[in-house]
């Protein structure tokens, strides 16, 4: 850690991880209801669990992005954060808003559109906090060195704020409502968040592989170009069946298929830089995340996304467990792993120690990642059966669900494994730092000299 104010990131990481833990708890509750439908039916109906689960995800990812940005910005801009105090205040507002929303949900206080259920005043607080964050980081950038990494990152964050404003627009016409709802949801995860993802990955790769910045930054522009050229019109894959014109079927199919390209490019990018790299970075666990993140994102977003994105496939699979399968692996690979990776990289430097608890961290990596994959597989099987019985044969929804019980039990099992792995990760981040070097040392670090 070269700059004192990089440590501003620490409370962001801690709050993010606390909310991540809660997200998993609510996910487990919801998955239990799927397995045993009467579970907590009176005390906490399913919709409350689900809204808590998804909102916690969004809130902690945003807090995580902020933490990553505060950590990265001083090094890239070569100056201290404009105002650390502003950062702490803005975190307090955001965390308060997120927790207040969560508590409110338990008492039925909410709005009613998926993912945007936060009450109006919570949305306002989130907006204020995010603007304070953007001001703070942009001031740091303006006065400091401008690199492709920090410019693309800030562009992604600013655009995320701009598209968020559509959350305030709720037309009375349901079709129009959906049209703009996707301007937040899709343009975030398959648009501007990819800018955040690519630039944070680029940062990790510069630091850990030692590959020349020029090369990495050129790749970065190519990747984010691919992301927006495909992802903007790719929104059309959500406009097939909501009352929009028929031309979205070809446009959405073609451009959303192209959305696979940036995710594939990120895999090639990460592995190429890894093999090219000359630096033998001691934080092997962070390197593992930096390679794992684009890989799982490619499968979750790219492969699982493509699976149901062509309009004539989506006609049958739309809104089934296939969607839930894809949603889980895509979010996990692209954004959860990204933030966990940056935390793994940053924590030893924030704590001013050599990389620690590396073996534990890697166990956490493998357990959570394989459990999320397993969850995705079971949901995919459930979704395929559901699609066939309900959408092809026309069987009644509830009768079809009765056929899927085994898959839901396996999903719950996978969820328990995710929770175990997540506890290991949390302990490896925040627990006592023990020096642990992976057995066999250097295999994970490739490069000119090592084989």
């Amino acid at each position: 850690m070269k700059y004192e104010t990089q440590k501003v990131a620490l409370p962001f990481f801690m709050v993010a991880m606390a909310l991540f833990t809660l997200q998993i708890v609510f996910g487990l509750l919801a998955a239990t209801v799927y397995a045993w439908p009467n579970f907590m039916a009176e005390v906490m109906p399913f919709h409350i669990m689900r809204v808590s689960h998804t909102n916690l995800l969004i809130v902690w990812l945003l807090i995580g992005f902020m933490g990553c940005t505060y950590y990265l910005m001083p090094e890239e801009a070569e100056r201290e954060i404009h105002s650390p105090n502003l950062a702490y205040i803005q975190l307090a507002i955001f965390a308060f808003a997120g927790v207040a929303a969560l508590v409110g949900y338990q008492f039925g206080i909410h709005e009613g559109r998926e993912f945007l259920e936060q009450p109006f005043w919570v949305k306002i607080l989130i907006t204020i906090s995010f603007l304070m964050f953007l001001f703070n980081t942009s001031m740091t950038l303006l006065k400091g060195r401008k690199t492709a990494i920090n410019l693309v990152l800030m562009l992604g964050l600013w655009l995320a704020a701009v598209f968020w404003l559509f959350a305030f627009y709720n037309p009375t016409n349901l079709a129009v409502d959906k049209l703009y709802w996707w301007w937040v949801v899709h343009l975030w995860v398959e648009g501007v968040w990819e800018l955040i993802m690519a630039s944070l990955l680029g940062y990790l790769l510069i630091k850990m592989t030692g590959v020349d910045r020029e090369v990495i930054e050129k790749w970065l522009y190519i990747i984010v170009g691919l992301a927006l050229f495909s992802g903007l019109l790719g929104t059309g894959h959500h406009y097939y069946w909501i009352g929009a014109p028929g031309y979205w079927q070809p446009i959405g199919s073609i451009f959303s298929t192209l959305e696979v390209a940036p995710f594939f490019a990120m895999v090639v990018f990460a592995f190429t830089m890894f093999w090219k790299g000359s630096r033998n970075h001691p934080n092997k666990a962070a390197m593992l995340w930096a390679l794992g993140c684009p890989t799982i994102a490619f499968f979750g977003a790219g492969v699982w996304g493509f699976m149901h994105t062509l309009s004539f496939v989506n006609y049958y699979s739309h809104g089934t467990q296939v969607t839930a399968a894809h949603g889980h692996l895509a979010f996990y690979g692209a954004y959860v792993m990204l933030i966990l990776g940056v935390i793994t990289y940053a924590m030893p430097q924030i704590r001013r120690v050599q990389p620690y608890n590396q073996v534990l961290n890697m166990w956490g990596f493998w357990i959570v990642t394989s459990a999320m994959c397993f969850m995705t597989f079971t949901l995919t099987f459930a979704g395929v059966v559901q699609t066939h019985l309900q959408r092809v044969l026309g069987m009644n929804y509830m009768e079809v669900q009765d056929q899927l019980g085994l898959f839901y039990i396996m999903r719950l099992g996978a969820g328990v494994a995710v929770a175990v792995g997540a506890i290991m990760l949390l302990y490896s981040f925040f627990g006592p730092a023990r020096e642990q070097v992976p057995a066999g040392g250097t295999q994970i670090t490739a490069g000119a000299g090592s084989a």
Partner: protein, 150 residues
């Protein structure tokens, strides 16, 4: 890869191309908006009651169990075409009282079956909600879903 391409060229392509695709996307969205209001949905039939029905739908967060036109949660049946499923096209009165009765019958409390919570709707809220579902069923959405099952 792309050895002939310089970093600044890559940057310019990114900014220029993104702006181009954004404008194209915004234009198509504007057209789709127009199309929804004028062609695919019944703007005249979007009465105060339908509007209120959407508020009831949102206030009770039905979306976190059900899907509507395929979006939402996957825990409970699709409701974008529930009007059709209850026979609303043939017999609107029967569909209306059928949906009403279903909601009023909750919770069923059957062991081993997913539970829908009980809602204490006023007659006005209930009617508006059903008006909203009827209106939604009328959206011309490329014949989705494939079967009335939703």
């Amino acid at each position: 890869m792309a050895d002939g391409l310089t970093k600044s060229a890559a940057r310019n392509i990114f900014y220029g191309g993104s702006l181009f695709f954004f404008l194209l996307f915004a234009a198509l969205t504007a057209h789709s908006h127009w199309y929804m209001v004028n062609v695919s949905t019944d703007s005249e039939g979007l009465t105060d009651s339908v509007k209120h029905g959407k508020e009831v739908w949102e206030k009770n967060m039905c979306i976190n169990c059900h899907s509507i036109m395929g979006e939402g949660a996957y825990f409970a049946p699709e409701l974008g075409n529930v009007w059709e499923r209850y026979g609303g096209h043939e017999n609107p009165e029967a569909a209306r009282s059928g949906i009403n009765a279903w909601i009023r019958a909750q919770p069923l409390g059957i062991e081993g079956r997913r539970q829908m919570p009980a809602y204490d709707f006023s007659e006005e809220d209930m009617n508006s909600l059903i008006d909203f579902l009827e209106w939604t069923d009328g959206i011309d959405n490329q014949d989705w879903p494939p079967h009335p099952a939703g």
